[in-house]
Amino acid sequence: MMNQKLLEVKDLKKYYPVTTGLFNRHIGDVKAVDGVSLDAKVGEILGLVGESGCGKSTLGKTILRLEEPTSGEILYKGTDITKLDKKGLRELRKEIQIIFQDPDASLDPRMTVGDSICEPLTIHNVAGEKEQAERVADLMKQVGLEAGQASHYPHEFSGGQKQRIGIARALAINPKFIIADEPVSALDVSIQAQILNLMMDIQEQFCLTYLFIAHDLSVIKHMAHRIAVMYLGKIVELANKQDLFDNPLHPYTEALLSAVPSLKSKGKNRILLHGDVPSPLNPPSGCHFHPRCHRVLPVCSQREPALAEIAPGHFIACHLYNASNI
């Protein structure tokens, strides 16, 4: 079952036009997602990691078509999402749900949490009123809340509890695929562990597929089976968790891994990157990473490296691993 592709993204692009002046002259594009291809198999947790502004959240939203893609294909169970009409989209969203980063902003403060969890059921016309109430109670228990709390408002809950409500709402209509956009980055460490455990349990219980977006490598390592590393709108490395952490090949992945402060890392040799993440409005030529790269080659500023499979299941976009450059 693990080998069946549930979602396949092909050369997806999302550009935001930048305009100026009275006549909105088009002066360029912010290439938030710039030719991303990846796939998620049934029952898999695909981790997506990158720094702020690299386009990981935009990618998540574009897959659900909360943002309209500029070009490319998104195949879900073989159908192209980008070509669906409104009705088709509504059907699709029964299968794909999203959990947002900030539970404060994603829950309506004037709705009781019971109503919030119930809303997807009403929209998709699942079950009658009585069954709906039962379902809400069930869901709340599943995520570790008490059914009696359904009549409370979001402000009466703590951050961790609100995130649980967000998870309950995403689960309401039995989706197959969940996009989790930084679900724990707004939470304290002691609460973070609770939510991660909950998400793992639910995933096993319902055989869900996750696209798990995070900037925290240790969280990603804990959760994901496969990991894609993103830099300035592009995937630079994609591999199994074990391969990626034991043997990171892309210089950016290497630096990212060595930059993580860990309890036992004191005194280890870290690769310090120079400079900041460049603006996606005006990315560097060739490989976007070359101005900060510690293993840069002359070719890097001229040609853009393509994502290539250099070992089974290990994809990388870097000139270092292209035999003709060495």
Binding site: E51, S52, S158, G160, Q161, D188, V189, S190, I191, Q192, A193, Q194, L196, N197, M200, H215, L217, S218, V219, K221, H222, F245, A255, L256, L257, S258, A259, V260, P261, S262, L263, K264, S265, K266, R270, L272, L273, G275, D276, V277
Partner: protein
Amino acid sequence: MEVNNLKTYFFTRSGVVKAVNGVDFKLRRGECLCLVGESGCGKTVTALSILGLIDSPPGQIVDGEVKYNNLDLATCSPRQLRQIRGKEIAIVFQDAQSALNPVLTVGDQIIEQLQIHLSIKQGEARNKAMTLLDEMGIPSVERVMSSYPHQLSGGMKQRAMIAMSLSCDPQILIADEPTTAVDVTIKAQILDIFRELKTKRQMSLLFITHDLGVVAEIGDRAVVIYGGEDVETAPVSEIIGNPKHPYTAGLIECLPDISKATDRLTSIPGATPNPVELPRGCSFHPRCPKAMEICSRQQPPQIIISDGHKVSCYLYQRST
């Protein structure tokens, strides 16, 4: 500097918020002391209290003292405080964007600080500001000097903030979550700057963070804070390798560690307490896996485990 039994309360309509409820620690010369805790535990308020930056009303330092050079900062006059603040004790805030003045260039802000505290001329101050920025590893100093904060990236702003706080060669630098708002690769750069500062300038650092990984990187000693109280104080290697308080142990266990594989994270049940109504006795007891009957009745005493390692917990009473 020595902080003794510091208590800062906020008197609000919904009750008294006991943000800091008896914190003790000593900051030695040239060391990096970390204050660790989760959001709302009172670590930032502790820092603000030291510098007399608590808004009053509603806030007030109700008890305790902050000893610095034979002076009690908790009770001394605003005028005395003004002379110390920024000059001898400086602070770097978490969010550089809101800590910098958006209508002044970065250069002007650093020069302003220099001229207030050290009576030097404009040109001299300008040169000093440039050297400081250069020391922070900022590539094009001229450009940054004449930039407004919004024109700089997060990492750059944080560096400019650090340069500003260092401008008067402070004895003590308080850093309030300086790496929380920036990306991992930038975080590593900023930590590197702090590490260098400590060794080069022999300065005392009071580093406030929620990230135990950062503590392990940079700290010499650490104070773990929970519910406005210090629950454990020890050298960093002790805190991480041999945590005594159940809360410290829990914090370390619930961290997904990049260097080891685990199937399931151990989590601390429940949520952090509301500082308006702290639980009776030990404020951690409702979440503590090893809670005993006495924990809910009385506040635990401070117990010295070994030299430099003290913990507030009943579990260790018998052994002493």
